[in-house]
Symmetry: C2
C-alpha cells in the first residue's frame, strides 16, 4: 500500500480500514504546517476522506489525538538518537557529537512535532507512557556522557554535565526555530559553536 493510499481511500468503501493511522499521518503534517494548537481536526478528516465525526471512534478528544501524535514523534526521535549513537564506538567523543547532531536534525526536520513533544499541556503531565519514552532518551545521553568521562552514569558529575549539555542543545533548537539565531547570530558557524561548547562542557 502506498503512502497516499494510507491517507485517502479512493474507493468508496464505507469503512476506511486504516483510519487511525491515516489520521495520525495527516495530523502530523498539519501540526508541521499550523502548529499543535492550530491545526483543525476537520481538515485531517477531509484529507483522510471521512466525516468529522469519524475520529471519535478512535480518539477520545483532541487532547487524546495530541497525545498519540506526540508519542509517535517521541518514538521516532528516540530511534534516531539511538541510531546516531551506534554509529560510533563507545567512549568516542564523536558519539556525543552525533547525539547532539541528531537532536538538532530532528528539531529542524520536524519543528512542529518537536515543539509538541516538549510542550504538551498539563492534561498530559505525568502520563507514564510519555514519560517512559522520554526517559529512554535521556538515559541514552547519560550513558554516553558517562562512557566519555569514565564515570558511573548515576554520578552527580555525569548527570550535571548531561543536563547542561541538554540545556544548551535544546536552547539552540528553540532559538533557531524561533528565528532568534538567524536574526542576530546567523553568521556564526553552527558547527563551531557546538564544538566549542561541547569541549568546554566536557573538559575534565
Amino acid at each position: 500500500m502506498t503512502r497516499s493510499d494510507t491517507l485517502k481511500k479512493n474507493d468508496k468503501r464505507y469503512h476506511h480500514g486504516d483510519l487511525r493511522d491515516a489520521l495520525l499521518e495527516a495530523i502530523r503534517m498539519l501540526v508541521e504546517r499550523d502548529g499543535a494548537d492550530n491545526f483543525k481536526i476537520s481538515e485531517a478528516c477531509r484529507i483522510a476522506g471521512v466525516t468529522t465525526a469519524a475520529p471519535y471512534k478512535h480518539f477520545r478528544d483532541r487532547d487524546d489525538i495530541l497525545r498519540a501524535v506526540a508519542l509517535a514523534g517521541m518514538q521516532r526521535f528516540g530511534k534516531r538518537m539511538s541510531d546516531a549513537s551506534q554509529e560510533h564506538d563507545p567512549g568516542m567523543p564523536k558519539r556525543i557529537e552525533a547525539l547532539g547532531q541528531a537532536y538538532l536534525d530532528f528539531a529542524e526536520a520536524e519543528p512542529g512535532i518537536f515543539r509538541m513533544m516538549f510542550g504538551l499541556s498539563e492534561h498530559h503531565a505525568g502520563d507514564p507512557e510519555l514519560e517512559e519514552t522520554g526517559k529512554a532518551t535521556t538515559d541514552l545521553l547519560e550513558s554516553v556522557v558517562a562512557e566519555h568521562l569514565n564515570l558511573p552514569p548515576e554520578s552527580t558529575e555525569v548527570r550535571l554535565r548531561s543536563y547542561a549539555l541538554w540545556c544548551f542543545v535544546h536552547g539552540h533548537c528553540f532559538l533557531r526555530m524561533d528565528g532568534k539565531f538567524a536574526e542576530k547570530y546567523g553568521q556564526l558557524e553552527e558547527t563551531e559553536i557546538l564544538a566549542a561548547v561541547g569541549k568546554a562542557m566536557m573538559r575534565v
Copy 2:
C-alpha cells in the same frame, strides 16, 4: 484608580474608557492560565465587562492582540534584565550571573508570556518593533560579556560566548517549564548547575 477598576467598571457607563489596557491585562492573565493559543477573547471580554465585539475597536484581530501582549511582555522583560545588570559594577562576574538569574526569574514568574515572546507565529516574523525590543536585550548581554572578557562587543569571541550562554539559559528555562528538569534532574541544585556552566563557558 485601583487595578480592579482597570479590569472591570462597576458603573454602567456606555464607554469603558480604558478598554484597551483592561483587555491587555485580562489577556495577560489568561495567557498564563491557558496559553497563548488557548485563551478566549470572549473570556477577556467578560472579565472587562464588555461584549465580545468590543475588542475589535482596538485590535484588528487575535494576532494583533497577541502582538500587543507579547510586546508589553518583552518590554517588561527588558527592563528586568537591564535593572539586574545595573545592580553590579561593570566587569564583575556577578553581573553575568544576575543577568542569567533575571532571565530565569522572568520565565518562572510569567511562563505563558515568556513562551509567547519567543513563540509568536510567522505572522509576526520580521515585525520591526518586536525585533528592536528583543535586540536591546541581546545587546545588553553582549556588552556585559564583552566587559567580562575585556574584548570588543562585536568580536566573534564575545558573540559566540554570548550566544552559547543564551542557549544554555534558554534551554534550561524551557526544560524547567515543561517539567523535564523536575522529572529527572530535580535533585540537582539549580544554582550549582548555573555556576558550573557559567564558569566553564566564561573560562578564558
